[in-house]
Subunit: 215 residues, 4 copies
DNA sequence: TATGAATGAGGGTTCATTCAT
DNA sequence: AATGAATGAACCCTCATTCAT
């Protein structure tokens, strides 16, 4: 089997198309981070991506789709990184703390993008908003699993699993949302994680599990 | 001490001016609550406040000042309500839970405005943003005090006071930010508070204090 | 009864508003006549009317409303002039010829506007189009009345009344639509009318009525 | 005479070029017919013709040329169909009625395209417009011939030949331009033709010729 | 010959802000 | 003090046209 000219052409075009889409979304994320959301005009995205306004509409049907793609990219990273980080870890408690840790690190890597998720989501249509919320729930899912694992192992006090998992998610987001505060306190992300583990995670554990965590 | 005619006039004018300012900010908050912040145009604020567009600019130099005043008012409510709610309560643990509870209820009363604070903050000027952050710290202050009180009484595990207080603040905000989620779960604000107390506050207490909370 | 300041103010404002509306529609008609329909941009209308783009939207909700108002103005003139022109004329045949004559003269006075009606009507929404068609039927109505009058007097051959009236309307429009042709033939509007009467109207009459017309 | 390889190539290319041009114009006409002329974008024409946008510009220098070619094709059909339809008919009066009938049927086959001719003509350049007018006169020509034939045979009252012929042309166009009206009246194209013949053509005939028509 | 990605001027529309009254 | 008519820059989006491949 050989690859003929058309296939090559198609492949090249596909690759270029992908590249363009990435360029545009990157530009959008970049702008959203540094400027007020108002500044994220199609013109600004085009300029920042180094393409024309018209081309934007070849790759995305309208502005909302660009926003959606940008947010999706960030949330996708969260969804994928957390399960991978706790792969192979046996201790249910460590699975929880490591899931939270990785989530916080992912947030740290996309700090501005997380902020923009909170800021831009309401400028989406109802459908777009629903889609983003669905994706956020996907990022919650690995946390819930880890928490349930700990609960099944008898390591958790009697706390509502989903709420506890959601708290972990929110407190990971908080690292981005309130970075101005923690930064003023001279806190690094690792210190932040460690303190939150000591404060929130440890508090949800049974004494036995807590001893294991401390040890 | 005598009050002459000019003073009276000035006083009346001052009172009227204050009234006008209040009217305008009320209108702005009202619009923010019910409509998407898209609806918060100067024209909409003017109409809703029952004044002319021109008059808005007599009381506020530009739109940012109105937004700032609106956010300030909401944050002010948080700052004032929490200390008042725990006035006279003796038990340090109950002071913490009640402070948190009141904070959540205040958030519930201004749900959309809280969301808007997160959403609009980056459209403010740097100065405006700094001012909002300063005010947020003021709302944090009563929570820190309550937490310190519990710590001083020996009711707290070894957790960082400020971070713990900040978590409570964030989780109060979360009631507004993630209301779509909790609403889908059929959670009322009181149930939310109760579960968060069980999950986060209880976990920060010593065994002795926890027993007191449960009892 | 006296007119107080507010009434005066309101009256003045009302007059100014009316003036503005007229200005804008005049500008729109002017542009539509001389340029291709593409050239009738909101910017062009604004410039031609001597106002800003923004102001256009204070008086008309969107572009379609301006177009609609322009067409309505022209059709209104047709509707009003024809009945007035045949007021007091007794002879049913003369009423028909005079109605047609006046219609043609009205068309001649608004030649370009008639052309624009044909040209722009399809850029309207379905509702707008329906409205224009309704108005065109109003301009047809006096012609139908005149034709029926002649028919009732026994002056008409057996021709379908409405179609005959509609033919007269169309042939009046034709003076505008095909002016390039008649102009090349050196025909004046009065000569055009006279020839059409001889050709179309006379042919619809009974011999007796035709003799009366010729006489 | 010999045809060498290059000639063959050139001939094939010429044929292909002609085919392409036809494809494109067909697509343009098709779009004009079914959609509002809004849909007639270069992209839409290309897609509908099954070629690329770029190729359009190999065959036509710009959009106006495509529009022009499309209108030309439609008018060409009118020019050709009418003489063919009355070929071999002897009676001068029947030649007139049949010419009109065929014209109306041709209009009915291209209803939207006729409307578009009226609508788009002013968006053409002056040269383009002149060309269209010249072509319209070509479609008038067979009607004039038929009318002159009837006049020469003494079948016509004293009516201006050209104007009468032009009226027939305009009333044929009217079937398209005012289709909304006739459609609302439940009129088919054949009924329309029959009524117009009774109203307009019959009225231009001498009594003797009219009797022949009725018989 | 044929493609379609890329351009950018121009379209309609909104809205914070100003100023004559 | 108060109005609201007026402004115009900026928004999102479309489409005729070009050109590297």
């Amino acid at each position: 089997m050989s690859i003929d000219g058309n296939d090559v052409t198609a492949a090249v075009q596909g690759a270029r198309a992908e590249l363009r889409g990435r360029q545009i979304v990157d530009a959008a994320i970049g702008l959203m981070q540094e400027k007020g959301s108002n500044a994220v005009s199609m013109q600004a995205i085009a300029t920042s991506a180094g393409v024309s306004v018209g081309l934007l509409y070849k790759y995305f049907s309208d502005k909302e789709q660009i926003l959606l793609a940008a947010i999706t990219r960030v949330l996708g990273a969260f969804r994928d990184r957390v399960p991978r980080a706790i792969e192979g870890i046996e201790d249910p408690v460590i699975r929880v703390t490591e899931a939270f840790t990785e989530f916080c690190r992912a947030v740290d890597d996309h700090r501005h993008a997380v902020v923009l998720t909170y800021r831009e989501s309401r400028s989406l249509s109802r459908d777009g908003l629903t889609e983003i919320q669905r994706q956020e729930l996907e990022t919650l899912s690995p946390l819930i699993d880890a928490v349930r694992g700990a609960a099944d192992a008898g390591d958790l006090r009697d706390v509502p699993h989903e709420l506890f998992a959601y708290d972990l998610l929110v407190l990971a987001h908080t690292w981005a949302l309130k970075h101005w505060y923690f930064h003023a306190q001279g806190l690094s992300v690792d210190e932040y994680v460690q303190q939150q583990v000591r404060t929130v995670v440890r508090g949800a554990l049974t004494d036995e599990a807590a001893t294991r965590l401390d040890g």
